[in-house]
Symmetry: C2
Subunit: 220 residues, 2 copies
DNA sequence: TATAGAAAAATTGTTGAACAATCTTGACAG
DNA sequence: CTGTCAAGATTGTTCAACAATTTTTCTATA
């Protein structure tokens, strides 16, 4: 893996670079992205950058105000609540209706194992990645490429919110065991119970994120 | 309402114009959209048109093959099946978990009434519109702007498939009464039953569409 | 005749400059 | 202090050009 991101058109590559900066926290929410400045920084033309902006705006990562510019999307209580509603619809339904021998179940299991190992090593960042992979695998149970793509956007947007929080990785840590439980129920042929557990998981996670967000949003 | 579509940037307006042509059937699936030709037809620059292409590609209405061009998305059995999977996840879950006094219920009712009236008048096109509105209202029960936006894309893509079929509006006609039943169950405080009925509805609709599609796809 | 391959043409990818339209800033008058 | 208006900066849009890639055309050869 020597190559960086040499795929497709320049706009796509640009979108990827900016997306990385976004989830890496290099670009702060609400920050304005000047066309001229960014174009010269990234050493591309304004036209190409604008195409990338259109891409990222459609993904919900940027906000485009005509004649005013594009800004990094700013997470809010409302957006976090909205995102968790989406997660409940997609994940719970996919899990509830899942075929217990679906290939994605294997990915769920490997994700749990990776998370366990990472937790032992104290590698919280990897715990977070494994957790995200676990939930992406759940959505994949529904066998729809459109749902997968949509969930990828939602997950990226949620990561934007996480980036604002202190100790973002720690948010995932408590849920490793819950994931294992959910997986066990599914493999035991009890998808309904697994879905119920997932619903509880999401409710708890949502409360935690909202609380942490409220703490930093209004320190008044 | 004299104004046509004077909102936002040129790329957005272009996207809307092309989207309209797409669902109106003026642009055929698989057809290549030449940048130079379309730009001169629509009397805009290639750059602006390219921005619009990026928008519509993200919506799933166009397909972008780097260095080869953009094409009108071509419906297939696989895409129809995928879309109906999405519909089941979004609509059934939203209905099942719905609060019976949610404002969207009113829109569901007016949609049913509009469909009934249109059917009496033999206005099948309006029956179709009312039917689409009914299902959009169902998704709105989940109270998520992201789900609403996603469903709008899915609906537009499905309409692309309908456009290929003979008597596309007739596809909606048989379902007016089923919608009324679903609404009645929801208003009677039985969301679970309503969701089950909707699931059956979608299964039947999917079969019909697939059968019609198969008939025109391989007339060998 | 068929076909592989090279040359030519057409199309997409990308850039830079230019100007119009709109927004932002800041000075100034009341 | 506040509202107005001009100046400056930024986005919106177009155009022309060239590079990179694909498609088409044509030819030489088996």
């Amino acid at each position: 893996m020597i190559e960086a991101d040499a795929a497709g058109t320049l706009a796509q590559r640009l979108a990827e670079r900016i997306r990385d900066k976004l989830i890496a926290g290099e670009l702060r929410p609400g920050q304005k992205l000047s066309e001229a400045a960014l174009a010269s920084t990234l050493d591309v033309s304004r036209n190409s950058l604008r195409e990338a902006f259109r891409l990222l705006t459609k993904e919900g990562l940027l906000r485009h105000e005509p004649n005013r510019g594009v800004f990094v999307a700013t997470p809010s209580m409302a957006s976090i609540i909205d995102i968790y509603r989406v997660r409940r619809v997609l994940e719970c339904r996919a899990l509830e209706q899942a075929y217990p021998k679906h290939p994605a179940v294997i990915r769920m299991r490997t994700s749990v194992e990776r998370a366990n190992k990472a937790r032992e090593d104290g590698d919280w960042s990897s715990v977070g990645s494994a957790n995200m992979a676990f939930h992406a695998a759940i959505v994949d149970l529904a066998d729809s490429s459109r749902l997968n793509a949509f969930y990828a956007h939602i997950a990226a947007e949620l990561r934007l919110s996480f980036g604002l929080l202190p100790d973002p990785e720690m948010l995932h840590a408590p849920y490793v065991d819950l994931n294992a439980n959910i997986l066990a129920m599914l493999e035991a042929g009890k998808p309904k119970e697994a879905a119920a557990a997932l619903d509880a998981y999401l409710a708890q996670s949502e409360r935690t994120v909202l609380a942490a967000f409220a703490r930093i949003a209004e320190p008044a």
